[in-house]
């Protein structure tokens, strides 16, 4: 991160805000930990309804995972563009990140809508409540991230890479990579282990 800021004061401010944001990510991680624990406890409580293996569409879930991984990569490209002071690369990478993130959310909402239409909504069993809460909370984070991304993108487009926007983009990249990491565990614990057990 150190090559972004020019003066020692900017450098100091950036490292301070990064630490603060990092602490938020760590507490958010604990929020997800409680949801994962709840899911792990309730995964078998299907109340006579379907279990994971019956309702998951694995190829769709794999597509979601690859889309989110790729968006994490394009987000990294935006960060590299920022360090090279290449506004064009930053903007194009952010557009790619946004479209991939949007595709992820759309696929997830479609998956939820289909489950609810088939009568497998969150009220059907403790397993489905835990499933919708965990996966939905991650989806909500991604949606909020997309909103943040639009704001940063438009501001960079209007004002260029000011030191304030540089800081925002650095924090956004942390947030986005973090969501990708959480998804890896959703993918493994909810979906992959769901078809196995």
């Amino acid at each position: 991160m150190s090559s972004v800021a020019e003066t020692p004061e900017q450098k100091h401010l950036l490292s301070k805000t990064t630490i603060g944001f990092w602490l938020y990510l760590m507490t958010d991680c604990l929020l997800f930990a409680t949801l994962f624990a709840t899911f792990a406890v309730l995964r078998g409580a299907t109340a006579g309804g379907p279990d994971g293996a019956e309702i998951y569409e694995m190829p769709v879930v794999l597509a979601e995972t690859i889309i989110l991984l790729t968006s994490s990569f394009t987000c990294g490209m935006a960060l590299l563009g920022m360090m090279a002071k290449n506004t064009k690369q930053v903007l194009w990478s952010l557009v790619a990140t946004f479209l991939l993130g949007l595709a992820f959310v759309v696929i997830e909402v479609a998956e939820f809508a289909k489950l609810i239409a088939e009568g497998h909504g969150p009220q059907a069993s403790a397993f489905l409540s835990a499933f919708f809460t965990l996966v939905g909370t991650h989806g909500l984070h991604v949606s909020v991230g997309l909103l943040w991304l639009i704001i940063i993108g438009v501001l960079i487009w209007k004002r260029g890479l000011t030191s304030k926007l540089t800081r925002s983009l650095t924090l956004f990249a942390l947030f986005w990579h973090f969501l990708d990491l959480i998804w890896i565990f959703v993918f493994t614990v909810v979906y992959l282990m769901g078809v196995v057990v």
Binding site: S15, C29, A40, H177, M193, V196
Partner: protein
């Protein structure tokens, strides 16, 4: 941070994801499948922490690492503790009928703590 840094991280993540998917979807009954999935997920965690979140590149006081390990400890206590306690409870009580369960709870309640 360079492009090759991100490309390496991306390719490793993609490979680990595909490997986990292959194992879980095509060999779901294999006896080692859960262990393999856990190992792949932890490897993926390490890859993303190092290549994307740049943990370990800090200079000066290592506050990021410190808070990360504190979070990881709390996380393990929450998740392992919940699963352990709840499965234990499940084991002990699930062979009761609802009536027996109520009676058992009332008996335990009368004993006090």
């Amino acid at each position: 941070m360079t492009v090759s840094h991100y490309v390496t991280g991306f390719i490793l993540s993609l490979a680990l994801t595909l490997m986990a998917y292959y194992v879980a979807v095509y060999h779901p009954t294999h006896s080692l499948v859960l262990l393999i999935l856990v190992v792949l997920a932890i490897t993926q965690l390490a890859v993303q922490l190092l290549y994307f979140l740049h943990l370990g590149e800090e200079v000066g006081p290592k506050l990021k690492q410190l808070s990360f390990w504190f979070m990881a400890t709390s996380l393990i206590i929450i998740v392992v503790g919940s699963v352990w306690i709840m499965s234990n409870l499940n084991e002990r009580m699930m062979h009761f009928s609802p009536q027996e369960k109520t009676e058992y709870m009332l008996r335990e309640y009368d004993k006090g703590f």
